[in-house]
Symmetry: C2
């Protein structure tokens, strides 16, 4: 009899456990679809706005002369909203680890700032902005629903995944990026199901409203031989180095601007003038805006050998001076153009090397290894998986503790099975 009672008690406990899991699961389906709907709509509006800004700028090349003035407006609006213009992706990353609040006005500010930057020819991406937009939306929803911090963090990750996914059309990458960028070596897998549902909903909404997937068709994927593997390892080592140069350039330019020019307005004005001057001197618009067409050309096998250098300079000045946008599409640009040029020298098909470079420089700059591998599959299909995985791994390892986001924690060493807990530098 006692055994039967124990058995009954055990079964009731198991049933309770199953009901807990199932109710949490159903709640997440509900919340994440709502987040997906909101972030999908905002994400596609943002994506269309940035695309329009780039197209309009290309059709009206005089706009580059307005960049310094546009910059002043960006700072003005941040100041009017009482938000420090330096607030950015680092705050979103920090908010997931600590209790610091994300101000709701950050969403319209980063939206406006990024569109102005792209419209007037600053060199920047959109994905960092997507993380800020999505993170802010997630944080507002979490506050509205009075969720506790451990659940609220997942809602913030859902928001980040949602906007990234709507903007870029790669839902699985969006989820892993939002999960992996916070801390290297520890993954909150609990966020996966909510995030993938948000990301997928947002992606489908974006497709309905005219969005598209960033996919490239690779003309050549080399067969795996000892020779190509050695070349890819050598090439990825160089990409790791380029990631370090890119991250260092971003941080040093930022510090230099802050040290030399204490006033925000003066800083963005100077930066804007520098970009305008550089554009006029180089007599090309390749390095203004997102530069997606240059990336496409590189993956097609055509790139200028010095393009990666200029993109590093343009982006470092643009973001360092206080303009808005992300660093990820620039990282793609740098990797793809570098890869295309160096691929030719190393005897790797230039188009394939551009794809490899895009993934490897992204990986070295953001320290997100899974994300990079999934990104390669979503962008380029599964055929080159092994070579993309090697390139990501080597660039990840050799880029050391450098990273675009100084709030990112590197919890486990890249060289040993050891807990280190460093900030990316």
């Amino acid at each position: 009899m006692i055994n039967l009672k124990v058995l009954k008690k055990g079964m009731v406990m198991k049933l309770d456990g199953a009901i807990t899991y199932f109710s949490i699961f159903m709640r997440w389906i509900f919340i994440s679809v709502i987040i997906g709907l909101i972030t999908g709509i905002i994400g596609i509006i943002f994506q269309r706005s940035v695309a329009w800004a780039n197209e309009f700028r290309i059709a009206h090349s005089f706009l580059i002369y307005c960049l310094p003035i546009g910059g002043l407006f960006i700072i003005l609006f941040y100041r009017l909203c009482k938000i420090d213009p330096k607030t950015g992706t680092n705050l979103i990353i920090n908010s997931i680890r600590s209790d610091c609040k994300i101000p709701s006005l950050l969403a319209p500010l980063i939206f406006f700032g990024t569109v102005v930057t792209h419209l007037l020819g600053g060199s920047a991406g959109r994905e960092g902005a997507a993380l800020q937009l999505g993170g802010t939306i997630g944080s507002q929803i979490s506050r509205f629903l009075h969720l506790d911090a451990k659940v609220g963090n997942i809602v913030v990750i859902c928001g980040m995944s949602g906007v990234f996914s709507a903007l870029f059309g790669t839902p699985v990458t969006a989820v892993f990026f939002a999960m992996e960028v916070i801390s290297v070596g520890v993954i909150y897998y609990a966020a996966f199901v909510p995030s993938i549902l948000s990301a997928l909903t947002a992606y489908e909404i974006s497709l309905l409203l005219g969005g598209k997937t960033e996919q490239f068709h690779l003309l050549t994927v080399p067969n795996i031989t000892a020779s190509i593997v050695c070349k890819v390892i050598l090439f990825a080592s160089l990409c790791g180095g380029i990631s370090i140069v890119f991250c260092t350039a971003m941080h040093k330019t930022d510090h230099l601007f802050q040290q030399v020019l204490h006033n925000d307005y003066l800083r963005i004005l100077t930066g804007g003038l520098l970009i305008t001057l550089l554009t006029v001197v180089l007599n090309t618009e390749d390095y203004n805006g997102a530069g997606v067409s240059v990336i496409e050309r590189a993956i097609g096998g055509i790139a200028k050998p010095d393009a990666f250098f200029w993109k590093i300079l343009f982006t470092a000045v643009t973001i360092g001076a206080g303009f808005k946008g992300g660093e990820i599409v620039p990282a793609f640009f740098i990797g793809a153009t570098f890869g295309c040029s160096v691929g030719k020298i190393l005897g790797i098909d230039p188009g394939f090397a551009a794809a490899l470079g895009l993934i490897a420089v992204f990986c070295g700059s953001v320290n997100c290894l899974f994300t990079s591998i999934v990104l390669s599959v979503e962008m380029f299909g599964s055929e080159g998986l092994i070579l993309f995985a090697i390139a990501s791994g080597v660039s990840y390892m050799l880029s050391g503790n450098y990273g675009l986001y100084s709030s990112q924690k590197i919890l486990y060493s890249k060289l040993k099975a050891e807990f280190v807990n460093l900030n990316a530098k």
Copy 2:
């Protein structure tokens, strides 16, 4: 002048850092290629032996009557080598987290035990055995090279990846599995580059020696619609449940055998007799050995509705009684046959549902989310990525803290962004 000195000192330090990274990197290339060579040769010999054992058994169906006697020899050899017959994958997983030693004789024993189990019709996989073989080889190399524990662990992971990769032909999955199976939520990324180089070398060696990649061509990949996503979520929830049933059956059968029959020889003899009896009564050889042909048929859209149930029973009895082999191909079998049958009811293409079920039950049973997603890409290509990711995520979440390997640590909760540190149950 002082500034120049500081600058010089800084540059020297940076150069030192770069040299450290580069020399560690070069050392890893060297070690991991050696490990890849050794594990590749042993892995392909193992793969060919198990394949031969399965073919030979199919051609000589009387062999099933020898299973009980074969079991006695397995126990005898373990006893002669003074190794507890219960030693298995859990020891390998533990050895990476603690200082416990892996005995070198485990490698020939698991090799012999698995081949005998497959030859005589026990129901088991090969991948668990691959982890043990590879882990033991890695551990011996680490001891031979007098490496410290934090580096030695990576060598063990390299060995596991190498044999798994040679055996199964999926190098990227092999690496993530070896990295992810140890602890859920924390990943030693430092192991990635060494492991991928070992896995790739082993894979190439295996191809040279007649190995092949486990790849399936999916006839139908559904377009993403709200309806298919809902069906996949429901289906994956069921797969999570099946994973719990499978893990519980494995553990409970093991305990029951131990409680009722204290003697190892008697236990394996009884288990062998049970399997023989079941085979004769059911009058089919579908559930003996690895059952790869049944998996292939399921992915082709054909499976018996009760096949998954019998495979759970056969595998639980085989492994619980003390026969050798892995639990992963059985998990594939269970997921694929379950998926094929339930897919028809839910209105998902049966072949595609079999593929989804294979991945989802694997994910729920081993709690390796990223591995499952990469496995889906390496086995089935990138076309169904989003649906595979959803299925893996849902099964991962709803399978709770159950798992095939009781030494696996679940460090982060599946429901919240929270550190929990539990053993899989």
